[in-house]
Symmetry: C2
Subunit: 319 residues, 2 copies
C-alpha cells in the first residue's frame, strides 16, 4: 500500500478554496486530505511573516474562521490595531489580536530556523486539524502585478489599493528558483492518489503561483489521479475577490469557459455551476454541480460531487 | 537662559516610580519634566523588543495605564495570549493586545535602524505626553540576578519565577560599555536644573542600573541641583514588588534607613513616610512626607512636597 493510498490533493488559495477544502475535510477521513496552499501572497509586514492563504485554510479547517467577514478569526478583537494607530504605525493591513498570534509565533520560529511547513504542521496539529496543510514551498515566492502605476507587491495591490489598479501582467518572483514542497511532489507522484482538485480560487493569483514552481506542471500532467478544477466564475461573475475584474483587464471573457481554457492541458475535468449553459472544450470534460458554497452543507455536497467525478474518471481509465 | 532652566530630572523604574513621575508631570509644566527610565529590564521575547519600564511610564503619563492591575494598559484585551497558547507559544510573559502594539512597532522601527530614544520620543509625542521620557541609554544593559539556581535573566527571575529564588548578587550586563543618554547627561550638567529626584523604585533593580552607567555617579555628585530620593520602603515593607524580600536576601535590614544608606554619597535629602521614626544619617538630610501614593491627589501632593524640599535646599545653598 502506498503512503497516499486514497489521498486527495487539493490546491488552494484563501477564502474560496478554503470552502471546498473544508468540505473535503468533512467528507473524507481528514488525514486523507492534503491541501497545498498558495504562498505567493505571503509578505512581511511590521517585521512579521504573514501567510494569508495558509492562515485562512488553517482557521477554516480548525473552525476558527469568521463566518461573516470572510477572512480572519471569529470572536476576533482589534485592540492592537487601535493602539498601533495611536502610535503612528501602519494600519492599511488589518491584523486582529488573535490572528497576530499566528504571525508573531511564526516569525519567532522562522527566525529560530524552522521551516514554514514545519511551523504550519505544528500549528495545525495543535489546532486539531486532521488534514495536512502544506505551503506550496518553503522558499519565498512573491506574486506581483503590473499596473499603470508600475509593478506592485501583491498586498499593496490587493489590500492597500483594494485591487483598483488595472492589471496587465502577473509575475511570481522567486518561483523559478523555489522548490515545491517535497510532500506535494511525493503525493503527485504516488500511484495511490485518488484525485487532484484545483479549488475555486483565483487562477492568476492563487493557483498559477503553485503551477509556476519547477516541475509542478509536469508532475500534474504525469499524475495517475484525475485532475479536476472547480470554476471560480459562476454566471460571468466571481463569487468573491478580483477574479472577474482581473479577467476583464487581461482581455479575457469573464466566463467559466475562459478559466477552463486557462487550465488547458492540465485538467481532466472542469466543474461548472448547474446554471451555466453548455460548455464544450477540446481537451477536457465539463461536469456540472452546485458550486456556490453558501452553507456548510453546500461545501460538503460539492466535495462529494467532485470526489464522485474523480472516482468515475478513475474507473473509466481502468476499463 | 539654559535649556533646562527649572527642569526637574526624575530617575525611575516602573510602577512605583511612574506614580511619582505622574505627580510631577501634573504639578510642573510637563515640558519641564525629564524622566530617565531604567532599561535594565528590557528583553527580547517572541522576537519582540520589550521595554517594561519605559512602557509603564509612557502608559502612566498618557493616562492609559490600568489602575487596578498596576501594569499594562486600561481596557486591555487578551485575545492574542489565548490564541498564542492554542498555538503552543510561550505564555509565561503576559502581553495584552494593546500593549503588543508598542512592542511590534518598536521592534519594527528598531530593525529599521531607529534608536530606542527616538522611538520613545515619537510614541510619547503621539500619545500627547508633554514630559520627556528618556531611556537611560540607547545601548543594551541587561540586569541579571545571582540565585541558588545560577545567574538568571531579569524577566526569568521576575516574571517566570515570580521572584521566588533567593538573590545573592546583581549584575548589569553591558552597563560599563553603555553610553548614558546624552539628554540625561546634559540635564545633569546644566546649572539651571531645579532638582534630581530618585523615584521610589527598587534601588537594586530599577535605580542601580541607571547609576551603573559610566559617568552617572560622578555627574550626580557634581550636579548643581539638589538630589532627592524617595523611600520605596514604608514601615519595613515595600509598597509593591520584591524590594523587601530582596533586601532581606542581601542581608540588609528592611528599613527606609537601609535604602538611604544605599544612596550614601549620592543624595542630599532622603524622603521617608510620616509614619517612620526618627532617622539620622551622617551624609544626608531626612525629611518626611506622605509617600504612600494611593490616589492621584497623593501623587501630586508628594510631587509638590519633593519640589518644595528641593527648592529649600537650593535656597539654602545660595545663602
Amino acid at each position: 500500500m502506498s503512503g497516499h493510498d486514497g489521498a486527495v490533493l487539493a490546491l488552494s488559495g484563501g477564502i474560496g478554496g478554503a470552502k471546498l477544502a473544508l468540505g473535503l475535510s468533512r467528507v473524507l477521513p481528514p488525514e486523507r486530505l492534503i491541501v497545498v496552499a498558495n504562498t505567493g501572497d505571503d509578505f512581511e509586514h511590521l517585521g512579521l511573516a504573514i501567510s494569508p492563504d495558509l492562515d485562512t485554510l488553517m482557521y477554516t479547517l480548525a473552525g476558527l474562521s469568521d463566518p461573516e467577514r470572510g477572512w480572519g478569526r471569529r470572536e476576533e478583537t482589534w485592540t492592537f490595531m487601535a493602539a498601533l494607530a495611536a502610535l503612528g504605525g501602519e494600519t492599511w493591513f488589518q491584523l486582529g489580536d488573535g490572528d497576530l498570534a499566528s504571525h508573531v509565533e511564526r516569525t519567532h520560529r522562522r527566525a529560530a530556523g524552522e521551516t514554514l511547513s514545519h511551523i504550519t504542521d505544528d500549528f495545525c496539529r495543535r489546532l486539531g486539524i486532521g488534514a495536512h496543510i502544506l505551503p506550496m514551498s518553503d522558499d519565498r515566492v512573491a506574486t506581483r502585478v503590473r499596473t499603470p502605476v508600475g509593478w506592485l507587491d501583491f498586498q499593496d495591490y490587493f489590500v492597500r489599493r483594494r485591487c483598483a489598479p488595472e492589471v496587465s501582467e502577473l509575475a511570481y518572483d522567486g518561483a523559478a528558483q523555489a522548490r515545491p514542497h517535497p510532500g506535494f511532489m511525493a503525493a503527485l507522484a504516488d500511484a495511490g492518489l485518488r484525485a487532484v482538485i484545483i479549488c475555486p480560487s483565483n487562477p492568476y493569483l492563487s493557483v498559477d503561483p503553485i503551477l509556476a514552481l519547477p516541475g509542478v506542471r509536469a508532475a500534474l500532467a504525469a499524475c495517475a489521479a484525475p485532475v479536476i478544477a472547480v470554476s471560480p466564475i459562476i454566471g460571468g461573475r466571481a463569487v468573491k475577490g478580483p477574479t472577474a475584474k482581473m479577467m476583464r483587464e487581461l482581455g479575457l471573457p469573464v466566463t467559466a469557459a475562459a478559466v477552463a481554457q486557462h487550465y488547458d492541458g492540465l485538467v481532466d475535468l472542469f466543474v461548472v455551476d448547474h446554471s451555466e449553459g453548455e460548455i464544450t472544450l477540446p481537451n477536457m470534460r465539463v461536469s456540472k454541480a452546485a458550486i456556490l458554497m453558501t452553507t456548510l452543507a453546500d461545501r460538503e455536497a460539492l466535495a462529494k460531487a467532485v470526489l464522485t467525478f474523480a472516482d468515475e474518471l478513475r474507473a473509466e481509465s481502468r476499463t
